[in-house]
């Protein structure tokens, strides 16, 4: 157990160090060290004020998306679930496009609008699932998510085509995902905000094991299924919306990382969630490194990197599980 913990810590540390060294301006380790601790040396400002918060933020967001994916997979009893399936991504996109098209002022307008758009989509999905009389039933949720997502996506495209606000077609660039706006402030906001949903998800880890067996079975074993569903659903929605507001839509982390951890370790959720958090964090830190270095001095959207890496990874995983 301690060996595992040690190995994990080394992994995390390694990824964080790579994140600090690499970038559009590669810095040697000594500069990074000096910059972080003493604030001296070439590139100190870059390391301390730009890269460090960015790397930590990428880790936290990656971890959050990972556990959201794992929790939703258990709730929907489907290993293909991911955090954005509840219409979240399209809702966020619609919010962002509306903010840009209406020329909303302020540097925080777009992230805030994306956050609210994501939550609006989730609320709509929930309302739709109520209409069917089977609240939070997995099949109904999936369908509602697809429908709401398609609707929001269509609205978004319509606005982008019709609006003559400058840069409205650049909205999709923001949506593709990136940590360019990372700062200590953004990190603080996200940390303060994300702590509670993350804690709630960890608290309900064992309940997720039960719910994954089926609603009735879970009830027979003592779980208050409806309450747990509501709480987990709300927490993942809030956490994912916060991630989208921070860095746009970064797909595949919530899908591939839980899958990889499950097939490698087959753990119960009490171990699965922490493992997924760490793995998701490292994955996103490394993806962010690639996005910063692949086409120096330009940046690739990190959502593109996760998809490009995620798809072959997923294919590899499928082969292993089916073999």
């Amino acid at each position: 157990m301690t060996v595992r913990l040690l190995a994990l810590s080394v992994l995390v540390l390694g990824c964080l160090v790579i994140g600090l060294i690499a970038g559009s301006v590669p810095l040697p380790l000594s500069d990074v060290w000096n910059g972080l601790l003493h604030g001296t040396g070439a590139g100190a400002a870059i390391v301390r004020d730009v890269r460090a918060p960015r790397v930590v933020l990428a880790f936290l967001v990656g971890g959050s998306l990972g556990i959201c994916g794992a929790a939703l997979q258990a709730m929907i009893r489907n290993p293909l679930a991911e955090p954005y399936l509840l219409g979240l991504s399209s809702g966020a996109g619609l919010g962002a496009v509306i903010a840009i098209a209406s020329r909303a002022a302020g540097p925080w307008a777009v992230p805030l609008a994306a956050f609210l758009g994501a939550l609006a989509a989730v609320a709509l999905v929930y309302r739709l699932s109520l209409v069917s009389g089977r609240r939070l039933d997995p099949h109904v949720l999936l369908l509602s998510g697809v429908v709401v997502g398609a609707f929001a996506g269509a609205l978004m495209s319509a606005i982008m085509v019709l609006s003559d606000a400058p840069g409205v077609r650049n909205a999709f660039l923001w949506l593709l995902g990136g940590f360019g706006a990372a700062s200590w402030q953004a990190l603080a906001v996200f940390t303060v905000y994300a702590t509670i949903p993350v804690a709630i998800l960890f608290y309900h880890a064992r309940s997720l094991d039960l719910i994954a067996l089926g609603d009735e079975t879970a009830q027979h074993l003592g779980a208050e299924v409806h309450r747990v569903r509501r709480v987990v659903y709300l927490s993942t929605a809030l956490l994912t919306a916060a991630s989208v507001a921070t860095c746009g839509i970064v797909g595949f982390v919530g899908l591939v990382v839980p899958h990889a951890v499950r097939t490698s370790f087959r753990p119960l959720h009490r171990s699965l969630l922490p493992l997924v958090f760490v793995a998701g964090g490292c994955f996103l830190v490394l993806a962010d490194v690639v996005s910063r270095t692949a086409v120096r001095p330009l940046e690739l959207p990190v959502g593109v990197v996760t998809a490009l890496v995620g798809v072959p990874l997923f294919a590899l995983l499928l082969r292993r599980t089916l073999a």
Partner: protein, 263 residues
Amino acid sequence: MIIEARSVSVRYRRSRPLALTQVSCAVQPGEMVAVVGPNGSGKTTLLRALLGLVPLEEGSALVDGRPVASWSRRQLAQTIGVVGQQEETVFPLSVAETVMLGRYAYLGALGAPGERDRAAVQTALERCDIADLAQRPVDSLSGGEWKRVRVARALAQEPRALVLDEPTASLDVRHEMELFELVSELVRDGLGGLVITHHLNLAARFAQRILLLDGGSVVATGTPSEVLTRETLSRVFEWPVAVTNLSDGSPQVVPLRSSKETL
């Protein structure tokens, strides 16, 4: 009386007819009650009503003398172990982990498994004769083994009653008998047992009392000999049957190939 239903009626939707009409049923410790009847006669609905999973239109369902609605899910899980008809195994665990999930009612969300929990799991595994399968993943088990794992999980809850819904579905003769022998043993040791089954002959041999349902109502209740008569069964199941007796006195039902056939 651990589990009791008093004149329970259930209607699933306002426009539909009653799924259960004034059904009464009681399970005591040390007694196995079998619920039998044709398809759609309300057997699973009765189970849901007893466990508080559906709202009652009239009547009351009691656990240990108190209305089931006043029990929390956790308390219920500590008292009644349920082995349902089917279960999803999307994320297969090991046998030991699965059985340990039965301790959820005692551990809650955060508690780590202690000595008491491990002992309960070990006992359950041994009672169900699957202790050597403990580390196997559940998706590598046969149907019979998987059923026994679920019974072990229910046992790990240290309940005072066991409820099984069609436990012998898709099991072969050996596993059917093994399962019923196991439940019979557990009942003899003091648990109450409620078994929903379509297997009339096994019910006749193992259950102390039988409840025969048809169309949501009770047709007959009593000892197997009292309930399983030729006239009653032919009428309820709409098929000619003959009833013979084994040396231990339990009736055995034999469906006839035509109304002209005699045994």
